[in-house]
């Protein structure tokens, strides 16, 4: 009996970073595509409760990190496509730097012999 793939909740505060990162890779995307992309690129390990994407997107729209534009999907459905702004790019760099710092610090604690 195959064990179902292990899925983890996203650590709090990283969702926005993940969205920004996804948008850097994939040009313009709509909400569903972003959720799908996060799921797939993390090899199915990270689980986004898909709805929680939307409050985050709203927050980022306000911060001016992303802009949204309504257009048509290939199947001719109306969808809002998000695109990174230059402020969003800078924010992504900041977040990654911060994440690296935190991650290094955590790994230092967990594996002191590396120090």
């Amino acid at each position: 009996m195959a064990t179902p793939p292990l899925r983890d909740e996203i650590p709090p505060g990283t969702l926005e970073m993940l969205i920004l990162r996804t948008l850097v890779l994939g040009e313009e995307m709509h909400g569903f595509a972003i959720a799908d992309a996060i799921l797939h690129t993390s090899a199915g390990i990270l689980l986004v409760e898909e709805g929680s994407l939307y409050p985050a997107l709203q927050r980022m729209l306000f911060k001016g990190w992303i802009v949204g534009e309504w257009s048509r999907t290939p199947e001719n459905r109306r969808a809002r496509y998000y695109r990174l702004t230059s402020a969003g790019r800078k924010q992504l760099e900041r977040e990654i730097t911060r994440y690296d710092r935190v991650a290094r610090a955590i790994s230092l604690i967990l594996s002191p012999r590396l120090a």
Partner: protein
């Protein structure tokens, strides 16, 4: 928060609907796409969409979370509250309308009156350190006041110790000749340091240099109003040359504010006094006191009393040194500049403020009353809301939203009304209240209005809210509406409120009644002449003309006016009655010792022979002037007041008097003139209908030719276009006579007897409308209370009728309840009125402050209003059908 974010948040408030739709569309799309993906991976349609929903989470929570990101959830709640408040208020239109109108009335009158008080009283004069500024006058043993002559001023300036500085200013009419023709303006010549005493700084250019002040120069400073109105606020005004009667002057500066000192007009042109000292005789005469002011700035820390004592010492020395001029003028009086500029309107304005406070109080009482009544009716509604889970705060907020809505509506209506009222006041009261032209509904006034609105909102919203908080849920739901109130103390509270409302209305109506009666008494006072059909023209030829030339000019004007069609009489006089002008002059009666302590001032009138006939002033004894009296001789007329004061107990005709030439600034000023009384004429109220007629002596105008004179013309039938005809006629005789006076007033006009009562009429009007408002509010209060109690006692009354009570019994029962309150209210109000109307004493004429007739009428009026307000609901009660009333519950 960045600027961009702020902007996005602000636009959000407007685009909320759009955002919500966008979000919904996105969520729906997401779920559809997920379902399709699930289907593609083999799930059947139902499991696919269920799985997609599971993966998505709770869309409602997501929506709310997103909206939380937008912020402004309060906006939604507010929207909900407002919508609900609108619906509730619409359901009880009577209450809503009554409350909004009450509020509008109260806020409107508060705002209007406060804007006047603010503009006139509260706003300080624009002079720096105005508390230390005073106007200085000589005071006689009899209590008379006059500005010192210029030589006396110089002595004061040298000897007084209490002042940082003293300055002298004298005003006079001059013509400016410009592209717009000849205009009359007031030119004030000022002694060195005048502007620094006032603490003035220039808005444009500069003030006079010390050198210009000392040695004189042809330079001029304009008051702000003059610059604005005559020169259109021209920024290029500096260095412009003005052609005045006394020569060409160069404009060097403009003053910064709308108030000009001395307060004879806001449009003034200032020049250094030193420029005219060589040519102005008035400046060396110790007997010259006209058209001038002395102002002083007190040393810091010196009180007015100390300064008065200091200056009075100087005045006493002057009186001893120059008995010829100053014998009686043995002390000094200091009048704060503020009081001089604002005059005695302070009492009037404070009365207005008190009245408006009363109206506001009545209005608040009324609204509190209405809200209480409504609070009762809503007990069950509020209880149900609590039962359904509304928190106490939520219910209170709902109630508060309602009252805020009411207060807002009333406030908006009220401020609009106030705006119109101020416009109206400025049109009608301009001549009555100083600085009124600067009154406006400004920021400060609006702040007060908003404060009043806020307070009423809190007061009227809080009452029912507090009450809703107190009410016991289960009890309220269990009880039937009718029983919910029995045993509660609230009806008593409402009765007290209504009683005090009636009492306040009684006070206001008493005040208004007294003012209206004063006005009626004053209207009944005969001014001593007949103003109907009179037209006047103020003839002010250029200064510097010789008396002989003036005399010839005046004769030519008389002849020209006499020749006009429809004219039945023409005459000249130096001062028309009720125009505010006049000149007192000493008179000695042969064979009578003067009594400086008691002799009243005598007003020096120069007239042409037709004057009494034209004015219809009766000749009581002796004869009127004839043309022959103009040529020479000593004939004069005196009025009855003069005969009473100076000639009591003797035959006045033929008595000899000594008069003194009274045209100021001429070489012959003060020269004695022998006179013989040839007749006695009726008294004329020269200054004010409310004060007794002053003693007057009439002299043929040729004996002391005045520098300006007023032409009086009587028409058989007054024609509306006649002032224009008269103006053209005078202009044909001498085009140099200006037809526009300073302040933009036409030289031609009417003798306005009623106009002299304008200030009192305004008072009566304003207090009258406040009284009417209070009356109306009290009536609403009584009606509301009684109507409510009838509705509450419907069943009880039904039982009474069923048990055999007659219609008249029911009527008596209900009316009796209301009238008991009314009688108490009226009695309390009368007591209050007795105390308060005493403050009005200064504004009354011919009635006492506790005039019994007024008070009785007041009580009767309030009784009648209360009776009507009780009768209407009582009649409804009497019509109650016992069967329906009993089945109703």
């Amino acid at each position: 928060m960045t600027l961009g974010e702020l902007w996005r948040r602000v636009t959000l408030l407007i685009r909320r609907e759009r955002l919500r739709e966008d979000l919904d569309a996105e969520i729906q799309l997401h779920q559809e796409l997920r379902a399709e993906a699930n289907r593609r991976s083999g799930a059947d349609a139902r499991t696919a969409s269920a799985a997609s929903r599971r993966a998505f989470g709770n869309p409602n929570l997501i929506r709310e979370a997103s909206q939380d990101v937008w912020g402004g959830r309060w906006l939604d709640v507010l929207q909900q509250d407002l919508g609900y408040a609108f619906r509730t208020l619409r359901r009880s239109p009577g209450f809503t309308l009554a409350t909004i109108l009450t509020l509008a009335l109260a806020i409107g009158s508060t705002t209007a009156v406060f804007s006047v008080v603010n503009g006139v009283l509260l706003r300080p004069l624009p002079f720096a350190g105005q508390d230390r500024l005073t106007m200085l006058a000589e005071r006689s043993r009899q209590g008379g006041l006059r500005p010192p002559s210029y030589p006396t001023f110089l002595d004061w300036q040298r000897e007084a110790r209490a002042f940082e500085g003293l300055a002298y200013v004298r005003g006079g009419g001059q013509r400016v000749t410009g592209s717009e023709g000849v205009q009359n303006i007031v030119v004030s010549v000022v002694s060195p340091g005048f502007f620094s005493v006032l603490g003035e700084r220039p808005l444009l250019g500069r003030l006079f240099t010390p050198d210009e002040e000392r040695s004189g120069a042809q330079v001029a400073v304009l008051s702000y109003a003059l610059w604005q109105r005559r020169f259109g606020g021209d920024p290029q005004i500096l260095e412009r040359a003005l052609s005045l009667s006394s020569g060409a002057y160069r404009v060097v500066g403009v003053l910064p504010h709308d108030v000009a000192y001395p307060p004879w007009t806001d449009e003034q042109l200032y020049t250094p006094l030193a420029t005219v000292t060589a040519t102005d005789h008035a400046l060396v005469q110790r007997g010259f006191h006209a058209d001038c002011r002395i102002i002083g700035r007190l040393n810091p820390g010196i009180s007015i009393e100390q300064a008065t004592a200091d200056l009075s010492d100087v005045a006493r020395r002057e009186a001893a040194a120059y008995p010829e001029f100053n014998a009686d003028w043995t002390s000094a009086e200091l009048i704060p500049l503020r009081d001089e500029v604002l005059g005695d309107t302070k009492a009037q304005l404070l009365m207005l403020l008190a009245a408006v406070a009363l109206v506001l109080l009545v209005a608040c009482v009324n609204i509190a009353n209405l809200s209480l009544a409504r609070g009762h009716a809503r007990v069950r509604e509020l209880a149900i809301r609590s039962a359904l889970g509304a928190g106490r705060g939520r219910v209170a907020r709902q109630l508060f939203t309602e009252s805020a809505l009411l207060a807002g509506g009333g406030g908006l209506l009220g401020v609009t009304a106030a705006w119109w009222a101020v416009v109206w006041l400025r049109r009608t009261g301009l001549a009555v209240v100083p600085r009124l032209d600067t009154v406006a509904v400004d920021v400060r006034v609006l702040a007060v209005a908003i404060g009043v609105v806020g307070l009423t909102a809190v007061a009227t919203g809080l009452l029912p809210a507090l009450w809703a908080g107190r009410s016991d849920l289960t009890e309220s739901l269990k009880q039937r509406s009718e029983a919910a109130t029995s045993g509660s103390p609230r009806p008593r509270l409402r009765a007290v409120l209504v009683t005090s409302e009636i009492a306040l209305a009684v006070i206001l109506v008493a005040g208004a009644g007294l003012l209206v009666r004063s006005l009626r008494e004053l209207r009944a006072v005969s001014p001593g002449f007949d103003s109907a059909g009179l037209t006047t023209f103020y003839v002010s030829p250029p200064p510097g003309r010789e008396p002989a030339a003036l005399r010839a000019l005046y004769f030519r004007i008389l002849d020209a006016a006499r020749a006009l069609p429809g004219v039945t009489g023409v005459a000249l006089t130096n001062f028309t009655p009720l125009s505010g002008g006049g000149l007192p002059s000493p008179v000695q009666v042969a064979g009578r010792a003067p009594d400086p302590e008691h002799d009243p001032q005598v007003w020096f009138m120069t007239v042409s022979p037709g004057y009494c006939r034209t004015m219809r002033i009766p000749v009581r004894e002796g004869r009127d002037f004839t043309e022959a009296d103009l040529a020479g001789g000593t004939a004069v007329l005196v009025n009855e007041a003069f005969a009473r004061s100076y000639l009591a107990g003797s035959d006045p005709i033929g008595r000899s008097l000594t008069l003194h030439k009274a045209v100021q600034g001429r070489d012959d000023f003060g020269e004695s003139m022998p006179a013989t009384i040839i007749g006695i004429v009726g008294d004329v109220h020269h200054f004010d209908l409310a004060s007794p007629a002053e003693p007057q002596v009439y002299v043929p105008f040729t004996r002391n030719v005045w520098g300006h004179i007023t032409l009086v013309v009587r028409m058989a039938v007054s024609q509306p276009g006649f002032p224009r005809t008269l103006t053209r006629t005078v202009q044909r005789v001498d085009p140099e006579i200006p037809v526009m006076l300073s302040g933009g007033q036409a030289a031609a006009g009417l003798v306005d007897v009623i106009g002299s009562l304008a200030s009192r009429r305004l008072d009566a009007w304003v207090l009258g409308s406040f009284g009417a408002a209070a009356l109306l509010l009290a009536a609403i209060g009584v009606y509301g209370l009684i109507g409510y109690s009838v509705a509450r006692r419907r069943q009880e009354i039904g039982v009474r009728v069923a048990l055999g009570a007659r219609r008249s019994d029911v009527l008596r029962l209900v009316v009796g309840d209301g009238m008991r309150l009314a009688v108490v209210g009226i009695l309390v109000g009368l007591l209050g009125a007795l105390a308060v109307t005493r403050l009005l004493a200064g504004l009354l004429y011919g009635v006492g402050a506790s005039d019994p007739a007024t008070f009785v009428a007041d009580a009767a009026l309030l009784g009648l209003v209360a009776l009507t307000a009780c009768y209407l609901p009582a009649r409804r009660a009497a019509g109650i059908d016992p069967v329906t009333a009993l089945r109703y519950e």
